[in-house]
Amino acid sequence: MPISRYREVGKICTHMTNILETVALTRDFGAFRAVDGVNLQVRQGSLHSLIGPNGAGKTTLFNCISAVLKPTAGRVRYDGRDITNMPLHRMTGLGIGRSFQITNIFNNISVIENVRLAAQARYPKQSYQFWRHADDLPEYEARAAQALAMVGLAGRERQIAALLPHGDKRKLELAILLAGDPKLLLLDEPTAGMATEQVPELMETIERIRADGNRTILLVEHNMHVVMRFSDRISVLHQGRILAEGKPDEIRSNDEVQRAYLGGGF
């Protein structure tokens, strides 16, 4: 049997445990192909990192997976169903939570309300009750407080979100995601702009979130120490294609990756 056939068998065997899968996913911006036929498999329960130089197409890939952008071609499968072109607002209902590279919160409202809104969003019908006081639904607030405690923002509930320090805003984003109780978290550079000494703490929080609900995490990250230390698997994206995929050690020792991206430093 030729080696390529063994690979096929392997794919079929792991297929059942892939929570997320893209098939030949492609996205063009005019003549520029930002994402080029990407086949990505993310295993249930893993922390899977997506790395690559600037402009490799990581965020575009994220946007296509999470319905912020429509892919030009290809499919996205989640938990056994095709979710390509599904509207963005239905993603949380499916159990997919998405954070953004640039801090993306509700600025001029309180920290707790930011998270409470996400908890309320899990029950769309409740949100059309226009004749009830929002404070009469304390379960969402309780859930929000729980999520805030989990990311280490307990005690900051009543602050206005815009006034939080940057690191706390990133934590708030995580709490917003957590309140939606996702099975799969897509985190686009959660440590971006954070002080170096705060990064390990945040990563430990992310690890706790994953362990707590048997969640899967797909991560875009630039900090190589973080990636190498926390990832189960790594996919390297280069010019819109997947250049290599494997465990951190395999990626570190991959010559092609070294040439294209790591610059021999790892």
């Binding site: 953004f100 409470r116 899990r122 769309p124 059309y128 004749w131 404070d135 939606g180």
Partner: protein, 328 residues
């Protein structure tokens, strides 16, 4: 804090209910003529404008939709009421229902088309709709129905509500309309739905990403604010005994915007105060300086925007917050 606010609201409502009697007692004039009658009229107009301003606040201040077509609903309410009363002789309750139905249909149609785009594009699309209605209201083809550029004159208001013969009754009906509208919008803004409106204003992409179908919520906001504006337009037509193209003009939308910004967007009480401020200041400047008063008003407006960027209520709230911080 909460109870105090309610106390203030109830106190104000009672004061406004007693106002005509107090004024009559103070001036020694009968309640249905002279100064008391005049000021009942002034305040009735303030109440109607306040509802119009609150309806705009729901859309712009809470949901963050900057529509330049709000006059369309105000005018549509006025014309619907006027045409049905004058040409079809419908009873008033049926007219109210018809105004609501018309506003819902218009809100759904305009919302479904304009809310697909955002920001300045939405502003332009809504402006275009309002301008179309404005042109339609001046069209000579429909003169026998709308009065074209002269407006629909001589709307037969039921005798019990006549703003000229039963001024006190009209005053109380306007006051009740205003209080009821305020209560309604306040309930909505504090509900789970209202919280989603605020989320959309703050960050629509995020609101969608956490699972809200923001288009539906924006549509809901547009229909609700449209119905309220149309009812205010109806009351305005009843007061004036006419409906005219000016109700549909861009200046009428700008007026809503001014009242909302001067009072404080997203505060409900702010736009109501803004409505009172604009109407009463306009009257005062007009009596003092004649028809050039808008010049002075423009200066006052620039000053308010420069020094009170969050309006009267916004400034008041930050003052309270600062005082509390000092005490603590």
């Amino acid at each position: 804090m909460k109870l105090q606010n309610h106390r203030l609201t109830f106190g104000l409502i009672i004061a406004l209910a007693l106002f005509p009697f107090a004024l009559s007692w103070l001036t020694g004039e009968p309640i249905d003529s002279g100064t008391p009658k005049f000021w009942q009229g002034m305040l009735a107009q303030v109440f109607i404008l306040a509802v119009y301003a609150v309806s705009y606040d729901l859309l712009m201040g809470y949901t963050g939709i900057l529509s330049f077509g709000h006059a369309l609903f105000f005018g549509a309410g006025g014309y619907t009421a006027g045409i049905l009363l004058k040409h079809a002789a419908w009873p008033l309750w049926a007219v109210v229902l018809a105004v609501i139905v018309v506003a819902v249909i218009l809100g759904l149609f305009i919302g479904a088309t304009s809310l697909r785009v955002q920001g300045v594009y939405l502003t332009m699309v809504t402006l275009a709709f309002a301008q179309m209605m404005f042109v339609l209201s001046e069209a000579t083809d429909f003169r026998e129905w709308t009065g074209a550029e002269d407006g629909l004159q001589g709307i037969p208001v039921p005798a019990w509500l006549s703003p000229t013969q039963q001024r006190l009754m009209f005053y109380f009906v306007s006051l009740a309309f205003c209080v009821f509208s305020y209560y309604l919008v306040r309930r909505v803004t504090q509900s789970p739905t209202g919280r989603v409106f605020i989320a959309i204003r703050e960050n629509e992409l995020r609101a969608r990403a956490i699972g809200y179908n923001t288009f539906l919520y924006k549509l809901l906001a547009m229909v609700a604010s449209g119905v309220l504006a149309a009812l205010a337009g109806m009351m305005n037509a009843l007061w004036n005994l006419n409906a005219n193209p000016n109700m549909l003009a861009t200046s009428t939308t700008i007026n809503a915007l001014l009242m909302t910004i001067i009072g404080g967007a997203g505060t409900l009480s702010g736009p109501m105060i803004g409505a009172a401020f604009i109407h009463l200041l306009g009257y005062g400047l007009n009596t003092a300086f004649g028809p050039r008063w808008p010049l002075l008003f423009g200066l006052a407006y620039v000053g308010i925007v420069l020094f009170l960027p969050y309006g009267f209520v916004g400034a008041w709230r930050s003052l309270i917050a600062r005082m509390k911080a000092k005490r603590a």
